[in-house]
């Protein structure tokens, strides 16, 4: 008799807890909290994101816009190494190689050190070509520019 009472009490407790759990579940389902997760893309996932267009190299030399403008580069330089050890631009543009490679020679100013000493090798301060010279592409300007060339 005692055993039967114990079993029914346990069953009743189990039913009650299940019911409570179900009730808790249903309240959660009816009133969900609003999620505050930011998309890594920075925009709503449903918005169409346009991929940036790829702009290609323009060939053919372009005139300078002002007399002292560093000329822009009419070919790709993407795979060329310019670092502490090597400068692949000089394989064609150094005065020793320019005629063989039919490339324009560096301006002689690039062989003058900051102390005004003329050397046979390119001056250290002129080593990193792409500090001033960049390849030309058919891309729109990144920022608005009101500059007018000296001929305009």
């Amino acid at each position: 008799m005692k055993k039967a009472i114990l079993i029914s009490a346990l069953l009743a407790a189990a039913t009650a807890s299940l019911a409570g759990f179900a009730a808790a579940q249903s309240t959660l389902a009816t009133a969900p909290e609003t999620a505050t997760v930011n998309s890594i893309r920075g925009v709503d996932p449903e918005t169409q994101v346009t991929v940036n267009p790829v702009y290609h190299q323009e060939e053919g030399r372009k005139n300078r816009n002002y007399r002292a403008q560093p000329p822009i580069i009419p070919h790709t330089i993407e795979k060329y190494q310019i670092d502490l050890h090597a400068n692949e631009c000089l394989a064609c543009h150094d005065w020793k190689n320019a005629a063989d490679r039919r490339a324009p020679t560096l301006s002689m100013t690039h062989y003058t050190s900051r102390d005004g000493v003329q050397t046979d090798t390119v001056a250290p301060r002129r080593w990193f070509c792409n500090q001033c010279h960049v390849p030309q592409v058919d891309a729109p300007a990144l920022v608005d520019n009101l500059f007018k060339g000296s001929e305009e």
Binding site: Q57, E59, H75, T76, K79, Q81, D83, H85, A86, E88, L90, A91, N97, R101, R102, A103
Partner: protein
């Protein structure tokens, strides 16, 4: 009667006699077939072992390769490009032809010595110091065999110069006319270049010229070009 002499011995005895002193034809046949079978097995094993040591995974299993040359190769045109075709380490550094391949593989035992015993390029600094020497070896190999490793895939004859950048087209035409080889211009396309690399390269070429080790440029096969032009026009 049991004492009647039977000229024919029992089945087992006959089999034993055959095994123990077989006729010459059977010996030869068995020798040939078994020899052939083992030959295939051993050659296959040799080839498998050779190929196992001839791929990118094997090359980059040593830190010297993985952290220096393999790291620099990332992003180079032979690793990352528009079409996704790749040239891995052995495509450029191990010849495809059997003879030169065996020679290169035997030479590579020196690299095992460098790795396990002398540790000649064990650290980054050691590697950078020796880079010019290592580069010179590769330039010499390329110059001696007319850049065969490049030419396994690239052929000047089938290049469409009209699809190339102007300066590339001009220079490839010049290379074709003057019998230049790929490595004459394309040094350091997959790995970084060391200090004064161009002077060092020219030094290698001068030395090889003095030794007469540079293959003579192959004459342009005008008939083949004519034939090609006729089929396309």
């Amino acid at each position: 009667m049991t004492d009647t002499t039977d000229p024919k011995p029992g089945l087992f005895r006959r089999f034993w006699t055959l095994l123990w002193s077989p006729p010459a034809a059977i010996s030869l046949g068995v020798l040939l077939i078994v020899g052939f079978g083992t030959g295939i097995l051993f050659w296959g094993g040799f080839h498998t072992a050779l190929e196992m040591t001839n791929n990118e995974t094997f090359c980059t299993s040593c830190h010297e390769m993985r952290e220096n040359v393999y790291a620099e190769y990332q992003g180079s045109v032979h690793q990352n490009n528009a079409s996704g075709v790749r040239a891995t380490c052995p495509d450029c550094h191990v010849p495809k032809e059997w003879g030169p391949k065996m020679i290169r593989k035997i030479q590579a035992s020196k690299e095992l010595y460098g790795h396990f015993i002398s540790g000649s390029i064990w650290t980054r600094d050691k590697f950078v110091d020796r880079r010019i020497e290592l580069a010179k070896h590769e330039w010499e190999r390329m110059k001696r065999n007319d850049s065969q490793a490049c030419r396994n895939c690239h052929s000047l004859v089938y290049m469409d110069f009209t699809l190339q950048e102007n300066r590339a087209a001009e220079n490839h035409q010049k290379a074709l006319d003057q019998g230049m080889t790929c490595i004459d211009c394309h040094q350091g396309i997959a790995h970084d270049l060391p200090d004064n690399y161009l002077t060092a390269y020219r030094g290698v070429v001068e030395r090889l010229q003095a030794e007469g080790a540079i293959p003579a440029p192959k004459p342009v096969d005008a008939a083949a070009i004519d034939g090609y032009l006729k089929t396309t026009n």
